[in-house]
């Protein structure tokens, strides 16, 4: 499907100059004003920013197809996890193809293998699927998972055959690129998101439905709660500062954003200017790590340029910003 690449632009002037090397992607699932098949709907879908988040442009398809998350692969391919399946664009969002058939629906996260961009994993409401041919074909890779629903999947940056999956019954690990899965830890806990620290890949974080944040410093072998000061225990997002891995931000349901400066030992609530406290996506701008973006559910996108001390609304009022990513 061929689309005009710049359909709708929201420009916000910020004092900080951002590096052109950061391309940001914002997946807007819906808007508070939206109703399925019911009325004139605001523009939702994928938004991109090539200037460090100063201005955002609607990219790709128009119309609601329930986009949850978009990620750019190392070869520049864009992958979107959507209600309609997994979409792919090889021309920077100008045209898209739904690469999946009816068997794959309600894809929640999509992760491309940085070492081999033809390999992509999709975490969906019906399990994990994998393509090894750039989306030409997909195979289900759920053997050993405890149920269907998988909120997230991440690829171990040290060993790309190692995967971790966020399920409703704990963190699961695969040591054979999705061939088999086994319980890694946090049995019985609903896992909402997973994060591997960039600078310390032995360290994994899990955000949970009711148990706050848990951390493993041994590749998932053992986990410990890291909830000191984290008064909201439903964690949808976690972002670390690439230049200081002890500086962390957590996005929670109802509690807004929490910040830790000591690697998660202590958390403080940082919501000055954040008018919506359901934070589903967080992103630290790699080229300018004082800048943090927070995607909220029904409140749109917010930005802080002082490490979370204060927030300003950016764009998409009433929007559900489900995913933020950067390449």
């Amino acid at each position: 499907m061929k689309m005009p690449s710049k359909i709708f632009a929201v420009s916000i002037a910020f004092t900080l100059a951002a590096s052109a090397q950061d391309t940001l992607y914002m997946s807007v699932l819906s808007s508070h004003a939206y109703r399925i098949g019911a009325q004139d709907n605001p523009i939702v879908g994928l938004f991109g920013s090539a200037d460090g988040g100063n201005s955002w442009h609607h990219e790709g398809w128009i119309n609601y197809i329930r986009v949850f998350y978009t990620e750019a692969a190392s070869d520049g391919t864009l992958w979107s996890a959507c209600g309609n399946g997994v979409l792919r664009s090889t021309d920077a969002g100008a045209s898209w193809k739904i690469t999946t058939g009816w068997q794959i629906t309600e894809a929640l996260k999509v992760r491309a293998d940085n070492s081999d961009p033809s390999v992509v994993y999709a975490a969906t409401a019906y399990g994990i699927f994998k393509t090894t041919d750039h989306g030409a074909t997909w195979k289900k890779k759920s053997r050993g998972l405890p149920g269907r629903f998988t909120a997230d999947v991440i690829i171990d940056e040290q060993n790309h055959a190692h995967l971790f999956a966020a399920t409703e019954e704990g963190v699961y690990v695969s040591r054979d690129a999705g061939g088999h899965w086994m319980l890694c830890g946090l049995k019985g806990k609903g896992i909402r998101m997973l994060l591997q620290e960039q600078n310390n890949p032995q360290t994994l974080w899990a955000g949970t439905e009711d148990d706050g944040l848990l951390k493993s410093e041994n590749d998932g072998a053992t986990w410990k709660p890291m909830n000191n000061g984290l008064s909201a225990k439903t964690v949808y997002a976690l972002a670390s500062n690439p230049s200081d891995s002890r500086l962390l931000f957590a996005g929670t349901h109802g509690g807004g954003v929490f910040r830790s400066r000591d690697g998660g030992e202590h958390w403080t609530q940082q919501n000055n200017g954040l008018t919506n406290l359901v934070v589903h996506a967080l992103l630290v701008l790699p080229s300018h790590p004082q800048s943090v973006f927070a995607g909220t559910l029904n409140g749109g996108l917010f930005r802080s340029d002082d490490e979370g001390n204060s927030w300003k609304f950016v764009c998409q009022p009433e929007a559900q910003v489900w995913g933020l990513s950067v390449r």
């Binding site: 499907m1 061929k2 508070h32 109703r35 399925i36 098949g37 019911a38 009325q39 004139d40 709907n41 398809w61 128009i62 119309n63 609601y64 197809i65 329930r66 949850f68 209600g83 309609n84 045209s95 898209w96 193809k97 739904i98 058939g101 009816w102 629906t105 309600e106 929640l108 969906t124 409401a125 019906y126 149920g147 269907r148 629903f149 409703e168 909402r192 439905e209 439903t234 949808y236 349901h253 109802g254 359901v278 589903h280 559910l297």
Partner: protein
């Protein structure tokens, strides 16, 4: 010895005139409407009435975003195909372009997917041999056609072997039947064409066996509150009128006095008097004709009967090991009323209607039922992939009443039923932490009489239907505009209901005398959660919440339920075969052989 003589009979020859008259009346009525609605446009163009306006409106509808992607998918191609000779090339080209530029959401419900894939199938068939740059999803005509065909075949297979998920919905029936009619008319592949015809028969038969004067009786997977309390304003009714000839009056006439004011306004209709039911215009335009036997199944209520069905739960994506647990449906049909139920519990999120009595009446509100108004994010998260703590507010935005303590549709994990013919025991064991801890009952203000006996039975007269309602616990009455709300706050609760007819009792006074002496055995209910009751047909029912349903000393075994089991319809689980029987007529839908076999049974 019974043997079958196979023969082919033309569909509904006997009452074709009647159908044709109603069809003409419907198209004329629709063509006079001026709502912003693709079905009204189709009626105008088909009847050559107000065509100029219709073409302008169609041009506008093609381009606007008011119709959800999945509905747009089949409605636009069906419009194109039904009206092809009446459409100028410019509009045809605009419709074609829409399938290239308009990204269509597939949706997340069964009816969404039927609409989406039917549309995709017909569109890909129409504009075949085109590459992905010509399609909104980047797939070629062949890829789209194959995917649509594959899913439609899978849906038909599942439905005819383990049951429909969005079963018996007075609202969503129309979103299943309309695409099947378009598919049976326009599919070029003979196999798909035949299967679509068979699915249309299947859906109509499923409706027909629980049709009473146009009311879609029994429990529903999904229904809107306004339709639950006023069944003759539901979207299925124009279809019943057109195909079954019931109710007698056309559905747009203000005979029921309560124009439907939908909470959820369907995008494809703006006509308040008919709700969002103008989809029936596509039925009138279709070449599909209802087989005579289904007409009889829908209209012959000379002998009461039990209809048992097995359906399936909508896909459970989390908090459950089984994706599609079974739904056990039981409906008792008479000429005056139907009493129907499913076993209770969460079988569908948001819009479940677990049990009711629906009776023949020319007044609105012709139903009686109870429920526990339940909501939870976890319930929603069983079926939707969004975050469970977010979903409640999100669903409330769509359905308005989801968290409302006064809502009239709800599944509840604290509600269970046991029905035997004209009697039902409904028990509640509501957790003290539930948001809403009451049981509510709907009693229409249009009941002819409502009296309370000294022994606690509440008796109602509704025309020739008599309803006896026994509350296990204390209650209060709350007056509302169109009903009296029966409300009971005890969390361990229940009701016993038995329904009768004037023809059985002779008079309401005789009914009163009978129930003056009727007893319920519910001693120690709070400890045992057990009720024992012997009906006036002589059946002894014993039901323990969370325990056995015992009928005349034997435990009821749901595992014996078939897909359809009634004097009219029979289908075994896994069979893919539905056998319809009416007197000496049979019609067999064999989805394995993709064949319809009509026959006459003689002795």
């Amino acid at each position: 010895m019974i043997y079958a003589v196979l023969l082919i009979f033309p569909a509904v020859n006997a009452m074709a005139g009647t159908f044709e008259e109603r069809k003409a009346e419907l198209l004329q009525e629709a063509s006079n409407e001026r709502g912003r609605n693709i079905f009204l446009v189709a009626a105008k163009i088909a009847t050559h009435h107000d065509e100029r306006y219709a073409l302008t409106m169609l041009d506008s509808l093609i381009n606007d975003q008011q119709i959800g992607g999945m509905f747009y998918s089949y409605q636009m191609i069906a419009t194109y195909l039904y009206l092809q000779s009446g459409l100028p090339d410019s509009l045809k080209e605009k419709i074609r372009t829409a399938y290239r530029t308009r990204t269509m959401y597939r949706g997340d419900t069964e009816n969404h997917w039927v609409a989406y894939y039917t549309g995709l199938y017909l569109a890909a068939q129409t504009w075949h041999d085109e590459d992905g740059s010509h399609w909104f999803n980047g797939k070629s005509s062949k890829e789209n056609f194959d995917e649509a065909k594959d899913w439609l075949n899978e849906w038909m297979r599942i439905t005819t072997t383990i049951g429909q998920g969005e079963f018996d919905s007075p609202t969503y029936f129309i979103v299943f039947i309309t695409p099947m009619m378009a598919l049976q008319q326009f599919a070029l592949d003979n196999t798909m064409k035949k299967k679509a015809e068979m699915m249309a028969d299947y859906l109509f038969a499923d409706f027909a066996v629980e049709n009473l004067n146009g009311n879609y009786c029994g429990a529903h997977s999904r229904d809107y509150p306004e339709d639950i309390v006023n069944p003759l304003r539901a979207p299925n009714v124009p279809w019943a009128w057109l195909y079954f000839g019931t109710p007698k009056n056309a559905p747009w006439l203000p005979t029921l006095g309560l124009p439907r004011q939908p909470v959820f306004r369907h995008p494809t209709s703006s006509n308040e008097s008919l709700g969002y039911a103008w989809e029936v215009v596509f039925g009138a335009l279709s070449s599909y004709r209802l087989p005579e036997i289904i007409f009889h199944v829908a209209t012959d209520r000379s002998v009461p009967y039990v209809d048992k069905e097995q359906k399936r739960v909508r896909n459970i994506i989390r908090f459950g090991k089984e994706m599609n647990p079974q739904v056990y449906k039981y409906t008792y049909m008479t000429d005056q009323y139907a009493l129907g139920s499913i076993q209770g519990g969460i079988l569908q999120p948001i819009q479940q209607h677990t049990w009711d009595v629906t009776y023949v009446s020319d007044k609105p509100g012709n139903t009686l039922f109870t429920l526990n108004p339940f909501y939870s994010g976890k319930e929603l998260a069983m079926f939707f992939p969004e975050e469970q703590k977010f979903l409640t507010d999100e669903v409330n935005r769509y359905h308005k009443v989801y968290t409302d303590p006064n809502k009239w549709n709800s599944s509840s994990p604290y509600e269970q039923t046991f029905q035997c013919k004209n009697a039902i025991i409904v028990l509640y064991n509501i957790t003290p932490t539930a948001h809403h801890r009451q049981v509510d009952g709907f009693f229409s203000k249009n009941l002819d009489e409502r009296i309370t006996l000294a022994n606690r039975w509440i008796l109602c007269k509704a025309g020739k239907t008599y309803i006896a309602f026994f509350p296990l616990k204390q209650y209060e009455w709350i007056e509302e505009p169109n009903d009296w709300r029966w409300r009971s706050y005890d969390v361990k609760n229940g009701v016993v209901v038995e329904v009768g007819r004037e023809s059985e009792y002779g008079s309401f006074e005789a009914f009163r005398k009978t129930f003056s002496a009727a007893a319920i055995d519910a001693k120690d209910f709070d400890k045992t959660l057990t009720v024992r009751y012997t009906t006036h047909m002589g059946d002894t029912m014993q039901f323990t919440y969370g325990g056995a349903r015992i009928l005349n000393g034997h435990t009821v075994d749901f595992s014996h339920y078939k897909l359809f089991d009634s004097p009219f319809l029979h289908s075994d689980i896994g069979s893919g075969v539905l056998t319809m029987t009416y007197k000496n007529m049979t019609r067999i839908l064999d989805f394995n052989a993709v064949a319809i076999r009509n026959g006459m049974v003689t002795k």
